[in-house]
Each structure stands twice: as C-alpha cells, then as structure tokens.
C-alpha cells in the first residue's frame, strides 16, 4: 500500500479534522426537534369519526409567516379532532414543485388540498385534475385561478393588500399632499403574487396619489442581503427618495436595515409585508412606522375550518356565512371566505402580537 507522507502537518490535520468533525456532527444534531407544526400527523382523540386529511401547502416552507399560519392550522385540527393535517411546501418556493406536490396528494387521495399558489397559472392544471378526482380544493393566502378551486379563504385581496401598503405609506409620509419619490423592493422579478400587487399599487398610485412618484422596482431574489444592497444603492442614486415598499417578508427587513444604517430613520419611510417579530426592532426603533399584515394564525385556523366543513358537507356553494369556531361568523362573498381586514402594526400595538 502506498502511504501518504506522514509529516507533522499531516498529524495536525488529522487531529483538527477529528475535532471539527465532532463539532460538526454535534451542531448538526443539536437543533431543536421539528415542532408539531411540520410533523405530518396529528392523532385524533375521537376514532369513531371518519378522518379527513387536509393538505396545507404554503408558497414557501421555512418562512415564519407560513410557519405561524401552520400553527393556527394545527390548533384548528386539534380542536376538530377528525382532521389529519399535512403541512408541506417547496423550500425554494418553486411553483413547479408546488404543482408536483398537488399531484402527489391527488394520487394519495387526500380529502382537501389547500394551497397558497406561488403562481396560479402553473398550479391550475394540477388543481383541476385534483377536483376532477373529487378532492376539495381551497386556495388560501393567495388566490388560484377561479375554476381550479372551490373556495378562496381570503385574508385580503391582492387589491386590498396593495392599496393597504400604498395608503399606509402615504399616511406615514404625511398625507396625500406630500410630494415624494418611492421605490419597491420585490422578491423575484418573476414572483407572481408580488407582480400582481405591483400592478395594483401602480394603478392605485396613478389614480389616487399623483404626488407619489414610483422611481424604481428592484428584485431582491429573496435574499435579505440583496434587498439591503439594493435599498442602499437606490437611496444614493435617487437622493430624493422618501419611501420604500418591502413587499416580501425577506426584502422588508433588508430594506429597513439599509435605511436604519444610512441614518435616515424618520426621513425615509419603509413599509411592507412581514411578520411582526421580524420587524419588531425597526418598529420600536422608529425606522418603520407601520407594518401591513393580518393575523396569520387565524388565517391558518380558518383555512382548516373551511376545509373540514367542505369535506363534511357543512359548507356548500352559495352559503353566505360560515361559522368559524373561535373566530365567530365569517362572511362569504361568492366563493370567497373573508377573514377580515388587514392589520397595521405600529409602535402602539406591535407588542400584542408574537408571530
């Protein structure tokens, strides 16, 4: 056998590698075990009822926004007792993967598929196939194409979200009379939801706020670092810029940090969509006056409730209201179950929320 050259260097390497290997294994194993939210099965307390399997598919797994939705969904499943909840989605947020998952669940023969489509067009054929198989299909968080789903659990329409963000920005800037340049930091340029919002934001600005001037839309590729960099660059390239929309939960904190580090807290406004926890320090520090969102846990909760009702026949097309347990009665407009208004988190109320 050929032996490698055992020199001092070599010994040092072996010792070092052992040491590092051990730490690596140690740290790789030490993270907290997966919480129940992502585990697949929840044992029902009541075995007599027929089990209803509901798949809750987020746009992207691993975002706190969706994790908090899943916690609400889990609560509903526990409460109902006859629901088996599956929570899984693409970790990279790929619409294609979402469609593949829907196809898998269709084959498995689950009862309800609730999906927050990354791209309604891509998942539509898969959803139609599922419906053809007799599976109840819901869209939640974001709407699918109308004929590919039964109901949409609507926390806010795309229009409402877009208007909410623009209105909040205008309010933060000091009213509709203020002249200001603003920019949008989006997720991927191809991100379907964000693009719909951007369209609505543009029309809303054109119609309502002639003084607001949208100077740039830049992608952050779902990378906080890039969002940070882009915001920094925009502030320097457009010195008159007064406001940033961080319209994904990754780009928002990145943009806020850039403004904070540039020392423009109070001069440049940042608003957008994110969970309160990730924005808490900025809201408390004053960089961000308001964060637009809704109660995510309630959204998850409502989705599961609607799914169960649909599968058991409690909810039919044409109903105008729905009894959502602890949330009380919810309005149904056509085929949309409405969660309620969007929430705006500010310094005054953010401490009440923890998700």
């Amino acid at each position: 056998m050929k032996k490698s050259n055992p020199r001092k260097m070599h010994h040092r390497f072996v010792v070092l590698s052992l040491l590092a290997g051990i730490t690596f294994i140690f740290t790789a194993c030490s993270p907290t075990p997966p919480s129940d939210a992502s585990s697949t099965q929840l044992v029902s307390k009541d075995n007599n009822k027929k089990k209803i399997t509901i798949c809750l598919i987020p746009k992207k797994k691993g975002l706190p926004y969706f994790t908090s939705c899943a916690e609400g969904a889990e609560e509903a499943a526990m409460e109902l007792g006859n629901v088996e909840l599956i929570y899984d989605g693409p970790t990279d947020g790929s619409p294609e993967k979402q469609a593949s998952m829907i196809e898998q669940y269709t084959l498995k023969g689950v009862d309800v598929i609730a999906v927050s489509p990354n791209d309604p067009n891509v998942v539509a054929p898969a959803l139609r196939k599922a419906r053809a198989r007799g599976i109840h299909v819901l869209s939640w968080d974001a709407d699918a194409i109308q004929d590919s789903r039964d109901f949409f659990v609507n926390q806010a329409t795309a229009e409402a979200i877009a208007h909410g963000m623009v209105d909040t920005m205008v309010k933060d800037l000091g009213g509709p009379k203020t002249k200001a340049d603003v920019a949008i930091v989006t997720a991927y340029l191809t991100a379907a939801n964000q693009n719909v919002w951007i369209e609505h934001m543009k029309t809303h600005i054109d119609q309502q706020y002639p003084h607001l001037n949208l100077v740039a839309i830049k992608p952050s590729d779902e990378d906080q670092k890039l969002a940070f960099k882009v915001t920094q660059d925009l502030m320097k390239a457009y010195p008159d810029i007064k406001g940033f929309f961080g319209i994904s939960s990754v780009s928002f904190p990145g943009a806020a940090e850039a403004v904070k580090q540039a020392g423009k807290t109070g001069q440049v406004m940042v608003t957008g969509l994110a969970t309160p926890n990730s924005m808490r320090s900025y809201v408390e520090g004053g960089t961000v006056k308001s964060v637009v969102l809704w109660n995510t846990a309630e959204l998850g909760y409502l989705t599961i409730k609607v799914g169960e009702a649909l599968a058991t026949g409690k909810l039919k097309q044409g109903d105008t209201s729905f009894d959502a347990g602890k949330l009380g009665k919810k309005k149904i407009a056509g085929d949309q179950v409405l969660l309620g208004d969007i929430l705006v988190f500010t310094k005054d109320n953010i401490h009440q929320y923890d998700f």
Binding site: K61, D88, D92, D119, N121, Y188
Partner: protein
C-alpha cells in the same frame, strides 16, 4: 470466469440496479401504495423534461464537458414561444421558433467552447446568466398562459398508457443509443473524452462534434421547455431554474465520469430512475421537502464513493 463476474459486479449499472432494488424493497415495506402503476405513471410526468435534457448532458459529460446553461435555455425558449403566441402567431410557428432559439443558444455555447477554446464550465456559467437575463428582459418577467388546448394536450395527454413526453424521451433515447453504440460517432465521443488531442490527430472532427453536442443540448432543452409549458400551461422566465444541477446529479449518479470518457446512457437512465423514485418517495412518505435535499445530496456523494471503491477493488484484484 471470476474476472468476468467481478467486472460485472463492479459496473456502475450493477451497483445502481442493486440500489434501486433496495429502494423498491424499502418502499414496499414502508408504503406499498406508492408502487401502484397508476401512481407511478402519473408521478413519472415530473421527470421527463429532466430526462430529455439528461441524454445530451450524458454525451457532453462523456466528452469531459459540462453544460450549466440548460435551465436558462429552457426559460429562453419557453419565453420565445410564449411571447410569439401572445403576439398572435400560430402555435406551431411559436414552437418552431422556440426550438430554433434553444438550438441557437446551444450552438453559441458549442461555438465558444470548440472554436474559442474556453472551458465549458466557464462559458456555460456566463451564458446561464445571460440567457435567463434575456428571457427576463423580453418577457419583462411576466408569465404567459392560456395556451390553446391542442398545445397543452401535448403535456397532459397519454398515448398507449404513457405520457406523450415519455414517448418523446423513449424515441430520443433509442435513437441516441443507436448512434452511440452502432455509429462511429459514438466511439468518437468516447475518444474525445479520453484524449481530445489524439482524437484531433486521428482526423476526428472534434470541433464539429462538440458544437453538435452542445447544439443538441440546446435543442433538447427547448423541447423540454415546450413540454413544460404544455404541461403547466405557463411560460415564464423562471422556468427550469436549477434543473442543471438535477440533470448533472442524475448523470453522475448513473456512473458517468465527470472527467469524461467513461459511462453509458443506460447508466444515466438508472440514475434518473433512482433520483426520481427517491425524490418522489421521500416527498410522498415524509412530506418534508427539506429531506429531499439532504437525501439527494448524500445519495450523490455516497453512490460516487461506492462506485469509486468498487472500481478500485476491481483494478487491484
């Protein structure tokens, strides 16, 4: 006799077959419902596009090259078809233009690699960014959908119980297999991978073959893009993102040496089967998308380590 037995044993194909059999045995224990024909046939629709690109990729890696731009060519071709369709052109024309775009993209890769002698890794790294950028630019990152039913049926219909895409793959596989094993071109490809100077000095048109292979890769990517668009009824600039890694993983797990000259198309097929079944089953059984990443990454490393050890064993005995 023993030597032959050992040789067969040390073939990557044998090792892969054993791995696949083990996997199926495991699946039949854990979740037999996954093995129903209906399920398998339906899930297979997730692999065909990747499989179609894997064929030219196998040939390219056999020549000691690599093509990272396949995913970007997919998006550029898809956008070409989509934009033309939106502009009112007929679907066959749009498809033809998409195939042409992909072919040109592949040709440019091949041209830079063979004529300018730039390392394929570098050039396709650059065109990977460029092609997708162009797709984003001309589409302004907007999706195109609502393709006519006649077209979307291509991606969703079945013929003799198999998806249309599967037939395309089979036709492609058989014809390339025939070329590789029954034509001089096949041996030329292997010769280039083993020693391109010696091949050049033997009068083999190395440049032409390389350009041809990359062009073929571009064409196959465009074909895969059309199948994708038909299946999902959407053309968008983010199509095929990251597919190159999946394709390369399948080819390498299939026993094709990344340094060229060694490997077979059959191996690639087995590699495709292995990663497809693993991916689908992990997702089917555990519903944890992040597991798939870990399992696939480890599968790649472990299978290459094992193939290496087996070959080593065969050489030393």
């Amino acid at each position: 006799m023993k030597a032959i037995f050992l040789r067969i044993l040390s073939l990557p194909e044998t090792f892969l077959s054993c791995l696949i059999i083990t996997l199926f045995a495991l699946i039949s224990q854990l979740d037999p419902s996954f093995l129903q024909w209906e399920v398998q046939r339906s899930l297979s629709s997730h692999i065909w596009e990747l499989a179609i690109i894997a064929i030219p990729m196998t040939l390219i890696i056999l020549t000691a090259g690599i093509d990272l731009s396949v995913g970007s060519i997919m998006s550029l071709s898809a956008i070409t078809a989509g934009m033309l369709f939106q502009a009112g052109s007929s679907m066959p024309l749009a498809c033809g233009a998409a195939l042409l775009t992909g072919t040109i993209g592949g040709f440019l890769n091949g041209f830079f690699i063979a004529r300018m002698r730039v390392h394929p890794l570098i050039i396709t790294l650059a065109t990977m960014a460029t092609y997708r950028g162009i797709a984003e630019g001309i589409s302004q990152a907007k999706p195109v959908s609502g393709f006519p039913a006649g077209f979307t049926r291509l991606g969703q219909d079945e013929w003799l119980n198999l998806p249309f895409a599967a037939w395309l793959f089979l036709i492609m596989f058989v014809s390339v297999f025939w070329v590789i094993h029954r034509r001089a071109l096949g041996l030329h490809v292997y010769a280039i991978g083993n020693n391109d100077t010696a091949s050049r000095f033997s009068g083999i048109h190395v440049d032409r073959i390389l350009i041809g292979l990359y062009t073929f890769s571009g064409f196959a990517s465009a074909l895969a893009a059309l199948l994708f668009v038909a299946r999902r009824n959407t053309a968008k600039a983010d199509i095929g993102m990251g597919i190159e890694l999946g394709v390369i993983t399948a080819v390498v797990i299939g026993g094709v040496s990344i340094f060229g000259g060694r490997g077979t198309l059959v191996g690639t097929c087995l590699g495709l089967l292995l990663i497809h079944e693993t991916r689908e089953f992990v997702s089917w059984h555990w519903n944890r998308d992040e597991f798939i990443l870990i399992v696939l990454g480890l599968l790649l490393i472990v299978s290459v380590v094992f193939q290496k050890l087996l070959r080593h064993k065969q050489n030393s005995s």
